[in-house]
């Protein structure tokens, strides 16, 4: 905990677990997110991605473990400090239109954060207009209601709204979900530019591994609530160590005209967290599973390139020697 790097982390999760009743959704996840960094959480539906980011944002209290923001535990924040955290950590939502209060105009939606935090609107308004231009929206959207703008515009309003308070941490939940291919690149470029200009730290959740590849410094692979592989993006995505990471990467139908080569698909589905498999949770779907995987839950081990993997038989045996 007194590791020198750790103290520099903006967001730090330590053994974070979340249960809904008796059903575990997140199991002992730890990671540090450093200022200016982008960490992406990937995994199938039901892997606990949403629960993880909601707990990290303090929207749900964890069952066990801690979330630290700027070295302060979220559970200890009270009053003014808690409110300051709400200013510093913002989120963009998967369904951007649904995340905008339906009876408000875009203008009200953009000034609402200022009012909540008692920022003088008059002095902040030029900054809001500037932000509106930055995200590529005309001023004519200001008087419109959420149902009168397109999905792409709603997403841009959501991004502008998250940045009005100049947060330090931005949590992006599926920022390109449902977007057409022709605008997907635009949104990714915008997020990368805004990250640079505003010094943002980004925690992202995405199904789209191509978008993850284009944006992330580090990747965390979640399976049934557990971080099965965490490490630098280029290592994890180019040479996965966990068989599940490899299967996720192979599942994306590659655009390769005239060349149909498909890896055999990953069999089965994510098991129910009510009744998780014994041993390694991935063993029923894993091509490499043996007797040990079925009985003994693998401990996390650190590979020589710095990534953490929870697997008895990691794919990169040479790196596992350490």
């Amino acid at each position: 905990m007194n590791h020198p790097l750790r103290s520099l982390a903006l967001l730090s999760l330590d053994g974070l677990s979340l249960n809904y009743g008796t059903v575990p959704a997140v199991r002992a996840v730890s990671f540090d997110l450093h200022p200016g960094e982008t960490l992406s959480v990937v995994g199938e539906s039901g892997s606990g991605k949403s629960s993880l980011i909601r707990t990290a944002l303090g929207l749900v209290p964890p069952t066990a473990g801690t979330v630290r923001f700027d070295r302060r535990g979220l559970g200890d924040l009270r009053g003014r400090e808690a409110k300051a955290f709400r200013r510093d950590a913002q989120m963009i939502f998967q369904d951007p239109a649904a995340a905008l209060s339906p009876r408000m105009t875009v203008r009200t939606l953009l000034t609402e954060p200022l009012r909540i935090h008692g920022v003088a609107e008059r002095s902040a308004w030029p900054g809001v207009l500037d932000l509106l231009r930055r995200v590529g929206l005309p001023e004519s959207v200001l008087e419109k209601h959420p149902h009168q703008i397109s999905g792409g515009q709603a997403r841009r309003v959501g991004i502008a709204r998250a940045l009005v308070l100049r947060p330090r941490l931005l949590v992006a939940d599926e920022p390109t979900a449902g977007l057409d291919l022709s605008v997907q690149g635009d949104i990714v470029n915008l997020l990368v530019d805004l990250q640079r200009d505003f010094g943002l730290t980004i925690l992202m959740v995405s199904h789209n591994l191509d978008v993850v590849r284009a944006m992330s410094d580090r990747v965390l692979v979640l399976y049934l609530g557990r971080a099965v592989e965490v490490g630098p993006a280029e290592h994890v995505l180019n040479a996965p160590a966990h068989p599940y990471t490899r299967a996720l990467l192979a599942a994306v139908p590659r655009f390769d005209p005239g060349n149909r080569h498909r890896a055999p698909p990953l069999p089965g589905e994510v098991p129910s967290p009510r009744n998780p498999p014994s041993g390694c949770a991935f063993h029923p779907r894993c091509p490499l599973a043996d007797a040990r995987c079925r009985t003994e839950e693998p401990a996390e081990r650190i590979l020589t390139d710095g990534r953490r993997v929870a697997c008895h038989k990691p794919l990169l045996a040479s790196l596992a020697a350490a």
Binding site: E44, Q184, G185, L248, G258
Partner: protein, 328 residues
């Protein structure tokens, strides 16, 4: 029709199909002069973004169009008849026997209050009115097993909500195939699924090609999916087919500026972190206010005077390819 003599006659030949809907903002021209052949036994991919009209094109074949339809012109030839001119009852008889559809959300197509077995039996009734229920149930069980549903016989007595999303999509595929249709229309069948499950469905469709010889019309927005599954592809933009032909040719060597721009947006595995990604500036035009001339001209980097003057017709390039661009 206009198919060249050396090619076999297509299963379905769509010619100059135009579809408009009445809206509060005036008539919306959702499809304009669309011509497309769906070859026998081919997997045809329809590629296009939101608002391109790809779903409307797919629903126009079985004539399942919304009620605010204000214009329906052109022809859809199938088995020597024009589907657009067919009386309603004759068309209804074709749906579910000759044409089958699967959708993005299988839950919407399955009745929540009936057992899967009952629904799969009812679907077969149109084709086999006299067969015993037991025999139809056995066929349903065999088909469920074929599409990879474990313990199929027992699962026939389950209700739709007792299956996962991926399993429901398998059931929909089984239901569609039980009808032994000439044409299977699959409207974004994997969009709502996880990539891993999508991979399973893709592998399943590929595998089924071994014994299902009908034509598949696949609507997809993932270019990866289309390049992996389709024999032919048609690219739609704002209600117009801008390019069509064999998938390997169109996707490997795109000729229309829109196809090129769209393919450039695909993020490859080789993308560098924080590299600037490609996108297409501007927006798809509103179907109630389409531009003069080529619909893509306002966003086209190469657009010139003639592009804005007249709508470029879809021209054959040889090799089964067609493109609608004055510059090619």
């Amino acid at each position: 029709m206009t198919a060249s003599p050396q090619e076999a006659e297509p299963l379905i030949a769509i010619r100059n199909l135009s579809v408009s809907f009445a809206t509060g903002a005036g008539p919306a021209d959702v499809l304009r002069n669309v011509s497309l052949d769906l070859g026998r036994g081919r997997v045809v991919g329809l590629v296009g973004e939101s608002g391109s009209g790809k779903s409307t094109l797919a629903s126009a074949i079985p004539r399942l169009l919304p009620r605010n339809l204000s214009r329906l012109e052109g022809s859809i030839a199938y088995g020597g008849r024009d589907l657009l001119a067919l009386p309603d009852h004759e068309l209804a008889a074709l749906r579910g026997t000759r044409f089958a559809m699967i959708f993005q959300d299988p839950m919407a197509a399955l009745n929540p209050v009936f057992r899967i077995g009952t629904q799969l039996v009812d679907l077969q009734r149109a084709k086999r009115p006299k067969e015993r229920r037991g025999a139809l149930l056995a066929r349903a069980a065999a088909m469920l097993a074929r599409v990879g549903i474990p313990d199929a016989e027992r699962r026939l007595s389950n209700y739709p909500h007792q299956f996962s999303g991926g399993m429901r999509q398998r059931i929909m595929i089984a239901a569609a195939l039980l009808a032994e249709p000439d044409l299977l229309i699959a409207d974004e069948p994997t969009t709502a699924l996880d990539p891993t499950i999508e991979g399973q469905i893709v592998a399943l469709i590929e595998e089924l090609r071994q014994d299902y010889r009908g034509t598949i019309l696949l609507i997809a927005h993932s270019l990866g999916l289309v390049s992996q599954l389709c024999d032919d592809v048609a690219v739609l933009y704002a209600g117009t087919v801008v390019e069509s032909g064999p998938a390997a040719a169109v996707l490997g060597d795109p000729r229309h500026p829109y196809t090129r721009a769209l393919l450039a947006c695909e993020i490859g595995a080789g993308v560098a972190r924080r590299a600037t990604l490609a996108s297409i500036p501007g927006e798809v035009p509103d179907a109630t206010r389409l531009p003069q001339g080529c619909v893509f001209a306002p966003r086209c980097p190469q657009a010139a005077e003639p592009c804005r003057a007249a709508v470029p017709p879809l021209r054959a390039l040889g090799g089964g390819r067609s493109v609608a661009c004055t510059l090619v």
